[in-house]
């Protein structure tokens, strides 16, 4: 009974800016396990929105639903609206959805290929064959991900020879190469050292001018440094969604206050 009381008190605002993605009453089940309850959020265009919460709070599960990476793994109910289309509708092409809504994962996961091939893989799969266009996309996306200067001398070297931070920026560049609209990041800096983390954050702050960014993070300083909006997840519920400054300075929900003060985590 006590749990129900915790989840009864929520504070969810709707941002003024036009939304890139909205979710309405999103539920996720792993078999019988109800991992995500009733998440109704609206992510404004060209802003960074942070999803925070303790481990197991459902934020990664939620994020993975947004470009249908939970297909075959979990059952997703409710609506995810993207440009007026419910992305879970049966007539939606899942591959096209993922081209528009890109994703970067927690661990840097470059393919066992050269740096160039990592970037051109999706483009070639999409049918782009012209070398000049491929080269142009490689250079643009590496520059956007702030990796160009470090690797431009040898794009043919194995991507596995990059450092962790470089590899993660390569993964960001790889997602950008297909020119997505929304970029989902699942704790992209949690496996990296502070200097690499700072580089990733600087990159994201530049990218937000062109892309809508949704980032899951365990690091509350990171959320407050880079995001405009923050959603607080707790045990599969979204308890609070507001501007980041409100969440960190005057949280409305007691559980949120405990979390941002570091009383649990």
């Amino acid at each position: 009974m006590e749990n129900n009381n915790i989840f009864a008190k929520t504070h969810l605002v709707t941002p003024q800016e036009p939304p890139a993605i909205t979710t309405d009453n999103l539920q996720v089940y792993y078999g019988d396990n109800h991992a995500m309850h009733d998440a109704s959020l609206s992510f404004p265009e060209h802003q960074i929105t942070a999803l925070i919460g303790a481990s197991g709070s459902g934020k990664s599960t939620y994020l993975r639903s947004l470009n249908r990476m939970n297909d075959d793994l979990a059952t997703v109910k409710g609506k995810i609206m993207y440009h007026g289309i419910d992305i879970n509708a049966s007539d939606v092409n899942v591959y096209e959805i993922r081209r528009h809504i890109g994703m970067v994962f927690q661990l840097p996961n470059p393919f066992a290929k050269s740096i160039r091939e990592n970037l051109t893989f999706a483009l070639k799969a999409y049918g782009i064959k012209k070398k000049s266009e491929l080269d142009e996309r490689v250079e643009t996306s590496l520059k956007e991900a702030a990796l160009w200067d470090e690797v431009k001398d040898n794009l043919n070297r194995s991507a596995l020879s990059l450092s962790g931070g470089q590899a993660q920026r390569l993964c960001i560049a790889r997602s950008l190469a297909i020119k997505p609209d929304v970029l989902l990041l699942d704790e992209p800096a949690s496996a990296l050292d502070p200097i690499s983390t700072a580089k990733i954050e600087a990159t994201l702050l530049k990218l937000v001018k062109k892309y809508t960014i949704i980032i899951v993070t365990h690091n509350m300083q990171q959320a407050s440094r880079i995001s405009k909006y923050t959603a607080f997840f707790h045990l599969g519920h979204v308890l609070e969604f507001d501007t980041t400054s409100h969440i960190f300075q005057e949280p409305q929900v007691p559980v949120t206050r405990d979390y941002v003060l570091g009383n649990f985590g």
Partner: protein, 301 residues
């Protein structure tokens, strides 16, 4: 406080070390003596019987009890060497696509159903004794080959088909291991980029697993190269240079098993067989080195 004298713990350590080292020592002595024995008998052909090594490797006449025009025993091993390599390579070429297809199905496409259905089939194929494979080859494959291609039906083609089935489970199960070892996050990364499952398998997973897949093929080839009994039953056992895929011939192993009962230790006939065994030994060394080399390359890339 006594910090320097031995205790129960140090004695246990010492006893454990002695047991481990003596077991290792026995194995090492065993391996070295096997190598020494094969090498000394195998080289006797060249040292005691004064056979020219080059002529041994390139000669096409195998008749150790006769002398050739140079007054040397006729021990040309090229027919056996050629046949051994041909059946090995052909069997690997035929088996690889099937093994990869089964492995991809079991790991990527239907992990539950595939494993439940195909795992027992593969284990069954491993469990069938090679003499049974040879028997089936002799009674089923040889007549079919004879019917379609003419001749006697025995030869490289029949040997290839028997070996293909025999190495299939080896290559398949190692390929399954290779694909399973590809980390899940590479699949996620590819799918998140909008790649289809087939593009993911072809461009990402097979590429990442390539060193271990090559290793799987080489282990299959090593098995094919060393298989004696089943091959002997379908290859024809004539120490002749193969003129086609359906002409009777002989592999290194089948020549050994065919002749070994008819020779006396220390004679040229016997020494020549040891030389064939030496080639087999060197080739298995080459296969091992290849596996090692590919593994090393795979790590760095």
């Amino acid at each position: 406080m006594d910090l320097k004298s031995p205790s129960k713990a140090t004695n246990e350590d010492r006893r454990g070390r002695i047991i481990t080292y003596s077991c290792i020592g026995i194995i090492i002595v065993l391996v070295v003596s096997i190598l020494y024995f094969i090498a000394s008998r195998g080289l006797a052909t060249f040292i005691q019987n004064h056979v020219n090594v080059f002529r041994f490797l390139t000669g096409t006449q195998w008749n150790p009890s006769l002398l050739d025009s140079h007054g040397q025993p006729e021990v040309g091993a090229l027919p056996m060497i050629t046949t051994s390599f041909l059946v090995t390579i052909l069997a690997a070429i035929v088996a690889t696509p099937f093994a990869f297809a089964v492995a991809i199905y079991m790991v990527e496409i239907a992990p539950k159903r595939g494993t439940k259905l195909l795992q027992p089939v593969m284990e069954l194929l491993v469990g069938i004794p090679s003499v049974v494979y040879g028997f089936i080859g002799l009674t089923v494959i040889v007549p079919i080959v004879r019917h379609i291609f003419g001749g006697t039906g025995v030869g490289i083609l029949a040997g290839t088909l028997v070996l293909f089935v025999m190495i299939l489970p080896t290559v398949t199960s190692l390929s399954v291991d290779a694909l399973t070892a590809v980390p899940m996050y590479l699949r996620s990364a590819s799918l998140a980029l909008g790649a289809t499952r087939w593009q993911t398998i072809r461009k990402v997973i097979l590429r990442a697993a390539m060193p271990r897949l090559l290793t799987a093929i080489i282990f299959g080839m090593a098995r094919a190269f060393g298989e004696a009994l089943a091959v002997q039953m379908v290859i024809g056992n004539a120490a002749l240079m193969p003129t086609s895929l359906v002409s009777p011939t002989s592999t290194l192993t089948s020549q050994l098993t065919t002749e070994v009962g008819n020779t006396v230790m220390g004679t040229i006939q016997n020494n020549a067989l040891w030389s064939l065994a030496l080639i087999l030994l060197l080739m298995s060394l080459v296969f091992n080195l290849l596996v090692h080399f590919i593994g090393k390359r795979g790590e760095i890339k």
